[in-house]
Symmetry: C2
Subunit: 504 residues, 2 copies
C-alpha cells in the first residue's frame, strides 16, 4: 500500500495548493483592492503551475504507475480492495487529464483566458462583438488543441463536455434536450397565451439590502449551512468556493429594487455550499472527498433554489419571516400572490434572470451553438446572427443588441465550452432527487411548511454529498432513484406546477 | 547575468508563495470561519515548506554560487555593478539564513510554535504560568538549536536580534537603552509628582464603533494610504500585511468605550501600510522591494501614531473632524483638553496600552529578561518573579497577576525572542526622521495643522520607502540625518513635549 500512500501524500499537497488558490480567487471577487489584479493573476497562475507539476511529477507518476497502467487506467494491483481500486481510477482520471496537456499549453492558455476574459468585459460594455471576436477565435483554436491532446471522444465536443460532466455524451444530452424542448415550448406558449398576467411588480419595490442580507442568512441557517465552517459575502456575481470542507464560502449580490435576485441566489449558492460542507472531510484531499460533476453540483443548488425556494409549502414557513423584514412593502400581499409573483414565467433575453422554465431554453441555444463551433467550425463572425436566430426560434424573442445576446455570458471568454449543458442537467437531476426525497421523507411537504429543512438536507448528505466521487453520476442516479437519468420528472414537475399557477 | 536572472526567477516564485501565504494568514485573522483552523495551519505550513525548499533548492544554490561564495557571501562576479552586488548580498543573506536551518528543524519548530501559541492563549486566560512554562522551555531549547545552526554572534542573543534587526548588536542596544532609561525614569517621576492629573476619562465615554471606523478611514486617506492598493479590516489584534505592494492590508480593533485605542492603532498600522505601499513595485520580488528591518518598519508606524497622531498641530486639523463624528461626547471639550487627554502619561501594567513615554520601559524589561534567558540560561520557573521585580524597578508598579505580567505578550509563545527591542528602536528612528523632516519640509507644523500630510508622506517615501533593502538601517540613518542612530532626538522630543503638557 505504500505506492497508494505516496500518491495520497502528493494529493494532500495539491489539496493545500488548491485551498490557497481558492482563497486567492475568492478574495479577488470579494475584498481584493482594485489595483491588485496583475499580482493576483501571477500568484494564482503560479499555484496552478505548482499543482499541475505535482500532479504529473515524478513522485506521482512512479507511484501511480505501480497501481494502474498510466495509459489505459487499468488497475495493476488487483489486491487492492474494490473501493481503493475506484479511488485509484479517479485519481488516474485526474492524472491522465493533466498529463495529456503539455505544461506550456496550460500556461499559454491560462494567460490567454485571463486576457480574453478582461477583453470580454470591455466588449460587453461597449456592445462590440467585433472587439471580442479575434479573442474568441483564438480560444476556439486552443480548445481544438486541447481536444487534440485529450483525444476526440464520440465527437470533438464530447471531449469538452466530459471535462465538466464525466461520462456524459452529447448523444445523451441531445436526446434529453429534445425531450425537454418538445414539452417545454408548448407549455411556455400556453402560459404566454394566458390573458391574466402574473403580477411580479411587487418584487420590484424598494427592499433595503441590509434586511435582504439578514433574511438570506436566516435562510442559510434554516437550510443547515453551517457558519462555523463557512461564510457568506457579497460579490458582483454570486459563486461558491471551498478552501476545504471546513471552510466553504458562498456569495450573493443584493439589489435594492429586486427582492428575487438575492433571495434565489442565496438559496442557490447555499445549495452548492451544503454539498461542499457535506463532502467527507476525512477524504478531503482525494477524489472521494470531491464533487462528482458540475451537473451534480448544480442539482444541489437548483434543488434548494427552485424545488424548495419556489415551493408553495416552503413559503408557508418563510413568507411570514420575509414579511417581518418588509412589513410595508408586503403589506396586504397574501402568500399566494407572492408565490405567483416569484414564479412568474416570461421569456426574456438574459439567462441569469430567467425563470426556472424558460431557463432551459437559454441553455439549449448555447448547447447547439457550442456544438456548431466545435464540431463544425462554424464561423465566429456569424455568431451574433446565429445567436439571435436561435433565441427567436426557442424563446420567441430577438435580442436588441449583442450585449443582451451573444456577449452576455462570461463562460466562453475563459474557454468554458461544454459547461452550459450541466446547468440543465442539474435541473433534471434535482427533480429526480426531490421526487425520491418525497417518497423517502414522510411528510416532506409539511416539513417544508414548518421550516423543518434538516431532514431534506440530511437526506441529500446521506444519499449524495458524503459519497464524493466514489460513485459516478449515473451510478448515483441509479442507486438513489432506481432509474436512469431522465427529463420526465423535471418536465412533469414544471407542467404540474405551472399549469396550476396559470390555471391551464 | 543569466545566473542572476535565474536567481531572480526563483525569488519571483517565492514572492508569489509569500503573497498567497500572507493572504491565508490575513484571512485567518479577519474572515476565516472558526472551524477552518486546522486545514488553514496545514495550508500555511505547506506553503512555508515550498518557500523554504525553493530558497535552498538546487536552482537557487547553483546560480547563486556563480555570484557569491555561498559560505562567506563574498562576491564572486566582480563585474556586477555595485547595486547588483548589493542586491546579491541581500539575497545571499536570506539564502544563508534559510540554508543554515535544517528542513526538519524548521518543520518541527513551526509545529511547536503553533501549539505553543495556542497553549499561551489558554494559560493567559487561566492566569497560569505553570501551564505555559514547559512549552516556553521547549521554545528556548529550539532557540538555542537555532543559534547553534546560525552561529553565535557577539553573544548568543545577538544572533536572534540580528534576525529582526540586521546588523544591530545588543552592545549598541544596551548603550541606547541605558541612555533612555537615564533620562526617561526621572521624567516619568516628575510627571507623576504633578498634583493636577490629566483628565483622560473623556476618552472612555461611549463612542459608537461605526463612527470610529469612519473617522479612521478618513485619517488613512489623509495620510495617503491608497485604498486602490490596500484596505482596512477588523481583527482582534491590529496588524499590517501585504500580498504585494499593490495589495497592502491594515487592520484595526474598535472598542465602544475607548476612543484612543482604534484611533492610534489605525494611524500605527497606516504607517506600516504606507511603508509597504511605498516599496518599489518593480522590485517587489527581491530584497530591494522589501522592508529593511522591523525597527525601520516600526519607525514608520510610530511616526504616524506618535509624532503625528499625538501632535498638537495635527489635532488643529483633525479635532474638528473628530468632533463632527462625536458632537455629543466631545461637546464643550476644547482641543487642548483633548490633546492632553490623549497624551496622558501614566505607568501601567500592559505594554500595548502604554503611553509613548512609559512604553519604552516595558520594552527594557523584556529586553533584559530575553538576554538573561538566552545568554545566561536563566531558569524559566523564576520568570514571573523576575518580571514583577523588573516592572517594579522600571515602572514602579508590580503586576497583580501573571496574566497582567509575564503572560501578557504573544511574542515568546511563538519563539519571537529578540523582537521586542525593535519597538523602541522604531521610536528612536522615528524621532530622527521627524526632526529631519521638520528641517527639509518648510512649514511642516502648519501643514499638519492644515491636514496637508502628503508632503510628509512623500518625504518618507522618497527618503525611506522607495529604497527597500538597498540600504542598511545604519546607512539610511546616516544618509538622511548625517548622524548615527541616537536616543537623543527621541528623548529631547519626549522631554520638551511632556514638560510642556505637565508644566514642568
Amino acid at each position: 500500500m505504500s505506492a497508494l500512500k505516496n500518491v495520497l501524500d502528493e494529493l494532500r499537497k495539491i489539496s493545500y495548493l488548491n485551498g490557497a488558490e481558492a482563497l486567492l480567487s475568492w478574495d479577488q471577487e470579494t475584498y481584493m483592492p482594485e489595483g491588485a489584479g496583475t499580482a493576483r493573476s501571477n500568484q494564482i497562475a503560479y499555484l496552478s503551475t505548482l499543482t499541475h507539476n505535482t500532479m504529473v511529477g515524478g513522485v506521482m507518476k512512479k507511484n501511480l504507475a505501480e497501481l494502474v497502467d498510466l495509459e489505459t487506467g487499468d488497475i495493476r494491483d488487483e489486491s487492492l480492495p474494490e473501493m481503493e481500486q475506484r479511488r485509484v481510477k479517479e485519481i488516474w482520471r485526474d492524472y491522465h487529464h493533466a498529463a495529456a496537456l503539455p505544461a506550456d499549453f496550460v500556461e499559454e492558455f491560462s494567460k490567454h483566458s485571463s486576457m480574453s476574459q478582461q477583453l470580454w468585459v470591455k466588449a460587453r460594455k461597449a456592445n462590440d462583438f467585433e472587439m471580442f471576436r479575434p479573442s474568441l477565435e483564438k480560444t476556439l483554436a486552443f480548445k481544438h488543441r486541447e481536444i487534440g491532446y485529450l483525444g476526440a471522444m464520440d465527437t470533438p465536443y464530447d471531449t469538452l463536455l466530459d471535462e465538466y460532466e464525466p461520462h456524459m455524451t452529447s448523444a445523451k444530452v441531445t436526446v434529453l434536450f429534445d425531450e425537454i424542448r418538445a414539452r417545454l415550448v408548448p407549455l411556455i406558449k400556453d402560459i404566454q397565451a394566458v390573458k391574466e398576467r402574473v403580477d411580479n411588480q411587487l418584487l420590484r419595490q424598494n427592499y433595503p439590502v441590509a434586511q435582504q442580507w439578514d433574511f438570506g442568512v436566516d435562510m442559510l441557517k434554516v437550510m443547515g449551512f453551517d457558519l462555523k465552517y463557512g461564510r457568506q459575502d457579497k460579490s458582483a456575481h454570486p459563486f461558491t468556493t471551498s478552501t476545504y470542507p471546513t471552510d466553504v464560502r458562498v456569495t450573493t449580490r443584493l439589489h435594492e429594487n429586486d427582492l428575487k435576485s438575492a433571495l434565489l441566489s442565496t438559496l442557490h449558492e447555499g445549495g452548492h455550499g451544503l454539498y461542499e460542507q457535506g463532502l467527507p472531510v476525512e477524504e478531503a484531499d482525494n477524489p472521494f472527498g470531491q464533487a462528482i460533476s458540475l451537473g451534480i453540483h448544480e442539482s444541489q443548488s437548483r434543488l434548494w433554489e427552485n424545488l424548495v425556494g419556489l415551493n408553495r409549502h416552503f413559503w408557508t414557513f418563510a413568507y411570514p419571516k420575509l414579511k417581518a423584514y418588509f412589513p410595508t412593502q408586503l403589506d396586504g400581499v397574501a402568500v399566494d400572490k407572492f408565490y405567483k409573483a416569484i414564479n412568474c414565467v416570461q421569456p426574456s433575453l438574459i439567462r441569469v434572470e430567467a425563470d426556472e422554465a424558460t431557463y432551459n431554453l437559454h441553455i439549449m441555444v448555447r448547447y447547439e451553438i457550442e456544438k456548431l463551433l466545435i464540431n463544425e467550425n462554424y464561423p465566429v463572425s456569424k455568431l451574433p446572427e446565429l445567436w439571435d436566430d436561435k433565441m427567436e426560434e426557442y424563446l420567441g424573442i430577438r435580442p436588441d443588441k449583442n450585449a443582451n445576446g451573444v456577449l452576455q455570458d462570461v463562460h466562453w471568454s475563459f474557454g468554458a465550452i461544454g459547461y452550459f449543458p450541466t446547468y440543465t442537467l442539474g435541473n433534471l437531476y434535482s427533480a429526480m432527487w426531490f421526487n425520491q426525497a418525497q417518497i423517502e421523507i414522510p411528510g416532506l411537504d409539511e416539513k417544508l411548511a414548518a421550516g423543518d429543512l434538516m431532514p431534506l438536507r440530511n437526506w441529500l448528505k446521506e444519499k449524495i454529498h458524503r459519497h464524493g466521487r466514489s460513485k459516478s453520476a449515473a451510478e448515483l442516479v441509479k442507486e438513489i432513484t432506481g432509474q436512469e437519468l431522465s427529463a420526465q420528472p423535471f418536465l412533469d414537475y414544471l407542467e404540474k406546477k405551472y399549469r396550476g399557477i396559470y390555471g391551464l
